[in-house]
Symmetry: D2
Subunit: 279 residues, 4 copies
C-alpha cells in the first residue's frame, strides 16, 4: 500500500468532486483526506487528495483524471519523496541555521543540497553541518554575471526549490522566470507594510505596536509575490531598531519554516497572485 498525494487545479464546474472521486474509486484508491476550494472570483477549482492504494502507473491515473476534467486542468500525482533544495544567504544566520538543523536531524521534509552566499560569513557553519557552501561575489560585476554564476552552481543539482534565507540581493526578472514558482523568500515585515529597504527602521519611525514577517513566492515584482505565511509579534516603545531586528529574527525563522513545511508537504497552490493552502 502506497501513500499518494493528488493535486488538481482547473476551471470550476459542476460535478468535479464526483467525477474525481469516481476515478479514484475505479483505481482502488482509498481517500484518506480531501480538501477543495473554489476561487469564486477566478472560477478556479483546487483540490488536494491524500489517498492510499496499489497504484501501478501514476501517468495513467493523471491521464484518466485529465480526460474527465475541463481543459486547462493541471493534475499532479505525487508519490512521497523528499524535495531537493538550495539555500541562498547573505550574512544573517538565523534562517539558515533553522533550516540546516532540521536538515541535519531529518525533520525538514527536504534535503539541502547546497548553500550559496554572496559573503563568506556562513561558510564555516554550513560546512560544519556537512553542507557544501559556494561563495558568489556580487561586487564589481553586472547582475547578469552574478546570477549566471549562481545558476552555474544550481545547475549541478536537481532542485525543486530555491530558498532565499535572508538573501539580500534582488533577483532579476530573467532569473525569477527561470525558476518560476520555485523561489521562496522571507521578507522582514508584515507585507504590504514596509515594502522595500530597512523595514524595521521604517517600523521604528512609524511607531507601530506590532512587527511581522512574510514568506512569499518570488515574482518579478519586488515584495509582491503570492504570500504563503505571515506572523506578527507585539512590540512597544522600549524597542530600539536593534531590538526589533532581534525580535523580528524569531518571527522570520518561524514564518519561513512554516512556509517550507507547507510547501514540502505539497499543500500550497498558487492562484493568480495569492496562495491556496490546505493545512
Amino acid at each position: 500500500m502506497n501513500e499518494l498525494t493528488i493535486l488538481i487545479s482547473c476551471p470550476d464546474q459542476v460535478g468535479l468532486v464526483t467525477n474525481i472521486t469516481r476515478i479514484l474509486a475505479a483505481h482502488q484508491l482509498n481517500i484518506i483526506a480531501m480538501r477543495e476550494f473554489v476561487d469564486e472570483a477566478n472560477k478556479a477549482f483546487f483540490t488536494r487528495i491524500a489517498c492510499t492504494g496499489e497504484l501501478k502507473d501514476t501517468n495513467l491515473l493523471e491521464e484518466k483524471l485529465l480526460e474527465t476534467l475541463p481543459d486547462a486542468a493541471e493534475v499532479n500525482v505525487i508519490t512521497r519523496k523528499e524535495k531537493q533544495i538550495a539555500v541562498l544567504v547573505t550574512k544573517e544566520y538565523h534562517c539558515l541555521a533553522e533550516i540546516l538543523i532540521k536538515n541535519q536531524f531529518k525533520t525538514l521534509g527536504a534535503n539541502v543540497q547546497c548553500v550559496i552566499g554572496n559573503y563568506e560569513s556562513l561558510r564555516n557553519f554550513s560546512e560544519k553541518l556537512g553542507i557544501p557552501y559556494f561563495f558568489v561575489d556580487h561586487n564589481n560585476k553586472e547582475k547578469a554575471q552574478f546570477e549566471a554564476e549562481i545558476k552555474e552552481i544550481l545547475n549541478h543539482f536537481d532542485l525543486d526549490y530555491l530558498v532565499l534565507a535572508k538573501f539580500m540581493r534582488i533577483l532579476s526578472a530573467d532569473f525569477v522566470k527561470d525558476y518560476a514558482g520555485k523561489v521562496i523568500n522571507i521578507h522582514h515585515s508584515f507585507l504590504p507594510a514596509f515594502i522595500g529597504a530597512n523595514p524595521y527602521k521604517q517600523a521604528f519611525e512609524r511607531g507601530v505596536k506590532i512587527i511581522g514577517a512574510t514568506a512569499h513566492f518570488v515574482t518579478d515584482h519586488l515584495d509582491e509575490g503570492p504570500i504563503i505565511t505571515q506572523h506578527t509579534t507585539h512590540i512597544d516603545h522600549n524597542f530600539s531598531v536593534k531590538d526589533m531586528v532581534r525580535a523580528g529574527k524569531e518571527i522570520e525563522k518561524k514564518v519561513l519554516l512554516e512556509a517550507l513545511e507547507l510547501i514540502f508537504e505539497d499543500r500550497v497552490f498558487v492562484s493568480g497572485n495569492k496562495t491556496v493552502i490546505f493545512k
Copy 2:
C-alpha cells in the same frame, strides 16, 4: 437553488467518500465544500458537506445515504434555519451581553428565546434588549426542585441549545441527560488546568504566566465534557486575582462566542469525549 449542509458520522470503511458523492450527484446536488475526518483510534468517519441544489425531499436523501452507509451511521441533512437558544446566567454580564448584542443586531446565527438567571441582576439589561428574563431562585430548595423550575420554563420554547453564560450552579446528571449534547458551558480556565472552583485564585497561587478559558459541552462529569474552543492570554506577576478575572472575562466571551458560532453553523461533531470541528 437551496443551500444544504449534510452531516454524516459512521464507522470508517473504504469507499465512503465515493459512495456519498455518487448519491449527491444522483440528486443533482453540487458540492461547494467538503470536509472529512477519520478518527483512527475509534475507526469513526465524519464528514460535513455544503452543497447547493433543488432538493425536494430531505428525508429521502437521508434514507438513500443511510442505505449506502454502514450500520450505526448518523445522517443529518440541514436546510439553513436559525437555531433557537436559551441562556442561563448568574450575575456576570460579559458573556450574556456579547450574546444579546449579537442577537440584537442579527449576527449571532441564533435567536435568543429567553434568559434564565438564579439572581435578578441581569433582568434589567436583558429586558432592555427585549429578551424575556426568568428568575429561578436556588435558595432554600433541593437541586431537583430548582432544575424542575428551569425545565418548566425551557419547555415553553422549542430550543436547540442551552448556553451556560457564566451560570454558576452545577447541573445534575439527570438534567444534563435530558439535554444531552445541547448544553454548552464556558469554563474560566484552560481546562484541564484548574478544574473546579476559583480557577483564577488557583492560577494566582500557582504563579502561571498564561490564563485561559474553555467552552465545552456539558456532561455529567464536571468540567470534563468535550472541549469546543480554548484561548489563552499572557499575564505576569503584576496581575492580582482581580486583574486575572478582568483579563479572563475578555477571553471567556471570545471563547464562548467562537464556540457558539461553530455550533450554530453546524461545524461541530462530538466523538467520544472530544469534538471534531470543520472550520
Copy 3:
C-alpha cells in the same frame, strides 16, 4: 489616604528620578509603582508614578516638581476620577456596543455622555442603554457646517475624549486641532498597511494571511497619527471580503477597547508621532 497618578514628561537629563522621588518623599507620598522611559532619539524623559498619601494641594506639588525639572517639563498630578467621553459613529454597531455595554456595567473607566451619528441607525440601541443620541446629517452641506453642528453638540458636555467608533467621515484639520490629543480612532487595518478606503478589500486582493486593526490618535494626516494599540488575526484563502470584515470587527473592538482602557488609566503619553505606554 488617596491614590494619585503623576505624569511627567520633560527633556532628559541626569538625576531626574532622584529629584522627583525626593520631592514625593518630602510630601509624604509613598510610591506604589513607577515607570519611566527615555526616548533617546528625542532626548525626552517620561515617567508615570502611582502613589498614595495625604496630599492637600495638587497644584503645590505640581509647582514643586516643575521647579526641580528642566524647562518645558509637563507635570500632571491626577486624582482618580472618571473621564467623560463622546462617541461618534456611522452605521456599524460593534465598537459602540462594546463601549456602551461596559459603560452600562461601570467597567469602562469612563462615562459616555452622548453618541453622535451621521445616520440614525444606532439611535435606538444607544437610547435603550440610556445614552442620548444626536443625529448630524452630512448630506447636502459643507464639511465645515457638518463639523460645526457636531461641535455645537460637543460643547454641551465637559469632555475629556472623543472616540471615533467606526465614524466613517474624515475630520478636517481645523476640527482635529480643536481637540488635539483627544480624538481616538479605530482603523480597520494593521497600519501602515492598507491606508485609506476599503482596507479589507485591499487585503483580499493582496492575499495576505493576517488582517488587523489599529487604534490611534487622530492628527490632520489621515491614518498617520500616533498608534496606541494594534492586533492581528490569521485568515486564509477561504476568507471572502465579507468574512474578513466579520473577523476584523472582533479585532477592531478588542483593539479600540484596549486603547481606551490604557488612556482612561492615564498610561499613554504622546511623543512626537509615537506613543509611550506604561502598562
Copy 4:
C-alpha cells in the same frame, strides 16, 4: 562609564524607592531604567535598576544599600558579564540545537561550557559545534551514583546555571538543593495541566484545543517550581499525538529560549513559588 544592573529584594516598607535612589545619586549613578514590584501577599519589595556611572567599588555600594534597607534585604550589583552554563539532555535535539546555535553566533547571552547527556545521541552534533559532550549512563546504577557522576563533571566548570533541555531523568531533592535557584527546566505542557509523564498523550486523550510548554526553575517538587515563561499554540482534531509532539517542540524551544534570555539579562526574581520578571 559602566553599565550596572542592581537587583534588590526585601520586605516592603515606606520610602524604599526614595532611599535607594538617594544612595545611587550619591554614587553619581544615573538611572536608565527602573522597575519595581510589591508582592502584597508576602509584603515583599523587588526592584531592578539599570544605571550608568563610574563605580569603583561594587561591594561598597552593596553595603551602603544594605544599611538603608530593612533586614533580610538582598542586594546584587551586577556588572555585565556573560553567564556560564551547562546543558543536560537526553535524546531530543530541538532545544539543545537552539541553544548551541545561539551560542555559536554569540547571541545567547551566555557561554555553553559543556553538554551532558544520558545517551550518546547528541554527542556528534554538540562536538561539531565545538562543545564538549559528556555521556553519563543512567543504566544499572543508583540515582545517587548517576547524579554524583554528573556533579563530578559540573565541578570542572564555574557555572551560573544548569539548563535541562529535554533531560528526561528526574533529579533528586539532594541534587536540586545543591543547585538551588540555578536549574531551569522545560516542561512539555502548559503547567499545571498534564503534570507528569506523556503530557501530549494526556492532551490527545482529553481532546484539548491548545497545547503549550512551560519553563520553570526546578525545585524538589516535580513540575511545581516557579514558572518563568509559558506559551500555547492551537491544535485541532487532526493532530495525532505525533503531530502534537512536533508542534510542541516549536513551543518548547521558544519558551525555553525566552526564559533563558530573561534570566541571562538578570530580569528574573523568585518570590516564594512564583517569579517576578521585569521585561
